[in-house]
């Protein structure tokens, strides 16, 4: 356990003493803020139009949850698909390249502790990233009345999605000593998880539901709507556990290959 904490400390420190953390956080919040601003101004335009031309009844159907928060969550999830492999690419690849991997693996530390430490550090970083976007719903709560429960469910979905991507990104980083290969293969893997459900409509009765179940988007979309389903929770938990297990095997493989 002590080793896990030591690794977390070292990893978080390396995010924040280098420009990495600040560039990623700034970029993420900049794009997030732009989306939020656009969605909000579109919402306000629609509201004006609806009240002017169709009276109050149509305007009542507009609500902040469906027209601002849900699309915002989906937009943020796309940015995460791209950014997370870039956050995790260095985790193992850089250690291998710079020779510090030898230090870590010749120390009396279990590979599981190393893998867990690196995962938790990236997880905490992603929590900070997503936590900072919390200002958007807070602004909405201050000036409007969106449903809080739905927002919380959406944020849980966003966090689970990001955590799964972190686990997958770390896995691809453990395969290589080249950071670009780690990032690209991480991006391909996370993007594939994101879009694997697309052909579900036409894939038939067996394959269709399977593809839909494998897709991150499917479970995420439910949560954004406010539906927290055990199926979804089990899905994310298994995806994270599988990726961590494979990472542990990948690191350990050096010892028996």
């Amino acid at each position: 356990m002590r080793n896990v904490l030591t690794i977390i400390g070292k990893e978080l420190r390396s995010y924040f003493v280098s420009p990495v953390a600040y560039v990623v956080l700034t970029g993420f919040l900049l794009l997030g803020g732009w989306f939020f601003f656009n969605l909000l101004s579109r919402f306000s335009l629609l509201l004006t139009l609806y009240t002017q031309f169709q009276g109050g009844e149509a305007a009542n159907r507009l609500n902040l949850n469906d027209y601002v928060i849900a699309p915002l969550m989906h937009n943020l999830s796309i940015i995460l698909v791209i950014l997370i492999p870039m956050i995790t690419m260095r985790a193992y690849a850089e250690e291998k390249k710079s020779g510090t991997y030898e230090l870590l693996l010749t120390s009396p530390m279990r590979t599981g502790e190393l893998v867990l430490g690196k995962f938790l550090a990236s997880f905490l970083f992603v929590c900070i990233m997503i936590g900072l976007t919390g200002v958007y719903p807070v602004i909405l709560l201050a000036f409007g009345n969106p449903e809080v429960g739905v927002i919380v469910a959406g944020y849980l979905g966003l966090l689970l999605l990001a955590t799964s991507f972190v686990a997958v990104g770390l896995l691809t980083s453990s395969f290589t000593e080249n950071q670009i290969i780690a990032a690209v293969s991480g991006l391909v893997a996370t993007l594939l998880l994101y879009i694997i459900g697309w052909p579900a409509e036409t894939a038939g009765n067996v394959l269709g539901p399977l593809l839909r179940y494998l897709s991150v988007t499917e479970h995420f979309a439910d949560m954004v709507k406010g539906l927290i389903d055990t199926r979804g929770l089990v899905y994310f938990a298994s995806l994270i556990a599988l990726a961590l297990f494979l990472t542990q095997r990948s690191v350990e493989s050096l010892r028996w290959r």
């Binding site: 070292k10 003493v17 230090l103 693996l105 530390m109």
Partner: protein, 251 residues
């Protein structure tokens, strides 16, 4: 203290190390010599538990490197060919991190840190970021990292490379001081270094041990240089070039 028996390491079809055996007694300093690409680094990586062997056994302090890897790693300090530094950490933060992952009790870390900083001549750069240090200082931080947890066994892969003459003398004196209380495997190209520091010499060529003896016996009639050139010439490396490539990809 260290017993290497019939160690073989193959990378696919290439044999980097072939059936090598040698031993180091407790408190002894072993000079591990050989031309570039002869399998020195591979052997050291196996002894430290970083790489698995294809066949053969290594025992450190009575523990098998494969079965009791954890116990072995607890007792070894290792300086790889290039010092394993995190370029964005300060020297102090880095050494503190190493002390922790080597399993030192928290209470002892501060003292150990002061000790190695003084011993390796790092007090003036203690708060500098390792990425900004000169090669000589980086090498010394690497050495400090290897000895901070006061391990019984030290494996040093070319520790004096890139140092200026003054620093080389200091580091050699430091390694000599470790004799008696620590068992050291020291790989190097610099023959006078071996003559000054080591008690025992193992020479490997093309992945095989071609000489294992005490320094005193070897240098009775010839200089170490003559001995080295003679045993290397005896066995012409038939696949020396391939060996070199293996070393490179492994590094």
């Amino acid at each position: 203290m260290i017993e290497v028996q019939h160690l073989t390491k193959r990378y696919g079809d290439l044999t980097a190390v072939s059936d090598i055996s040698f031993s180091v007694a407790s408190g002894q300093i072993l000079g591990f010599l050989g031309p570039n690409g002869s399998g020195k680094t591979t052997t050291m990586r196996i002894v430290t538990g970083f790489l698995p062997a294809t066949s053969g056994t290594v025992k450190v302090a009575g523990f098998d490197i494969f079965d009791d890897s954890f116990e072995v790693r607890r007792r070894i300090g290792y300086l790889p060919e290039s010092p394993p530094l995190y370029n964005d950490m300060t020297v102090t933060a880095y050494l503190r991190f190493v002390a922790r992952i080597k399993g030192m009790p928290r209470a002892e870390i501060a003292d150990a840190l002061d000790r190695v900083l003084t011993r390796c001549g790092l007090t003036t750069v203690a708060d500098r970021v390792t990425g900004h240090l000169s090669k000589g200082f980086r090498q010394r931080v690497g050495l400090a990292q290897a000895i901070i947890h006061n391990p019984a066994v030290l494996v040093l892969d070319e520790p004096t490379i890139g140092l200026d003459p003054q620093q080389i003398i200091e580091i050699r004196a430091l390694i000599k001081e470790l004799a008696g209380t620590h068992t050291v495997i020291l790989s190097t190209h610099i023959l006078p270094e071996v003559a000054q520091v080591c008690e025992k010499v193992v020479i490997i060529n093309a992945g095989r041990v071609v000489m294992e003896d005490l320094l005193a016996n070897l240098t009775q009639e010839q200089t170490l240089e003559d001995v080295f050139l003679r045993v290397i010439a005896q066995e012409e490396p038939h696949n020396g070039q391939l060996q070199g490539e293996v070393e490179e990809t492994a590094g």
